[in-house]
Amino acid sequence: MKLAIHTPGHLTVFVGALALMTLAPPPRLPLAGGLCLTTAALLYPAALRAPLHPGWPAALALLVMLSALLGGPLDHSLGAVVYSGAGLAAGAQMALRALVLLVMVEGFTQSTEISAVAALCERAGLRGLGFSLGVAVNLLPGLRQASRQTWQSLTMRGGLRRRRWRALGLYLAATAAAALRRAEEVALAAETRAFTPEQAHYLPLAIGPGDFIAAALVALALLWIVGFGILISS
């Protein structure tokens, strides 16, 4: 049986990876990076191509090079090039961190549904967001049409040739006023159907055993790498 991970699980993995790469002591950073990349390879294999997008390899190489040249005393040499050992190590750490986060961000965005983000926001305290989001999505075509018609009316009357700022203000006010009137209609329709935010259902949010297992594994990894890492270094 395959355990499915839903948006809460993916979010936990992403936040866990971010915490690992931010909090891990420098000697344990390669271990944390390796663990994150292995997780990404298992969960989001397509995301491993993210750092190959044009620009990123060159940017990471430049970052390592600049850090090696500017990030500390120049105490090493490679042929004619003199560089800083500490700077090179810091640059490699930065590049590793960026590499891991690029992959994890790509994996997270590929696996997340926007409606699940809305559902999470709603549960985080923005009650009624589902209703408002539905209204907003349905309003977009109407808003576009109203703004286009207002714009055409203004141009036909020559409103933009003279007193442009006033015309622009009228255009914005008319568009917003049309939208507010539409909102009033929506509110009346919802109230007629006995809708109240208190009785409204939350947006559905899929969650299963896979998400809890992912959260437990992330917690273990944090404890192992960050917690023990701090203990060992102290």
Binding site: I114, V135, A187
Partner: protein
Amino acid sequence: MRFTTRELSILAVFGALWGLVEISLGAALHALRLPFSGALLAAAGLTIALTGRWFVPRRGSTLFIGAIAMLLKLFSIGSAVIGPLIGILAEALLAEAALLFFRRPSRAGFVLAASLGVLWTLIQPFFTGWLLFGRDLFVVWLELLQAGSRLVGLESSATVGIIAVLAAAHLVIGAAGGWLAWSAGRLLGARLGKTAWVGLLVALILAACAQPTPAETTGPTLTVTDGQTTKHYTLADLEQIGQEQAAFRDVNYRGVRLSALLSDAGFDPAALKAVTATAADGFSASYEPAIFTKADTLLAYARADGPLVEDEGPFRMVVPGQEGKLNPRQVVEIRAIP
């Protein structure tokens, strides 16, 4: 934070407008790569969000509008992209935090909220840089900065001045957005009769509290306001100001001259651009100076031969010689527009 259905609809409208600006103007500015494009986009978004705050002056409404705009932006892109997600939410959060310092909505609060929100666009690259690369990135940046200052012959301390100028520019752009939002809210409120909505909310709150209030003990009241200064009048108050008579459609009415009422409320009629009378159902009629300064333009509280009939009281406008829509019944608010 719990909002009513009506408030949720209004928040949806302003969230949709911010989302629309992010989708359309954002794409255009991104393609043009103009200087301060991020700040301009944030200012436009926050102007819309704060105009929404004017209509729903409750804690959390700006953040709510930001969340809707963020989700619409993500829908338009098709996947969760971290940059806009952080940007829109942080701008809305900062604006919301700034508004916490103000007990009542005010222009100063809006200016501060939008300024702080727009300032985030200057901070965000540093925040995402730290998130992506860690603290060591700042060491490289500082070294690069010093190398650059040596190259162009500038003191590295000049950086502070450059950052201050950039921050000031962002704050000014934000302040303009906040100022505009307050004006836009007032303009829209005057056009649509915001008080109809606010009045409904106030009525619900008063009913829920079930405590005697001046409105309950002294009868219906009329509000005269310019958005900043507000005065309430009972029937007895109005009778003390004036008892003029005027006729509309062969009926004689008794009331107070509109210009006298405005003067009593502390407004100079000669300095006003327009006056709006709003009825209990949200209908409003606007009057130009030539009409609201006329001697026979009345806010009527009775007929000459008795009280106003049920569907026209407790107060109505009487503007002799003008069409019916300029003579609204059941007037609850007079708004002075300077």
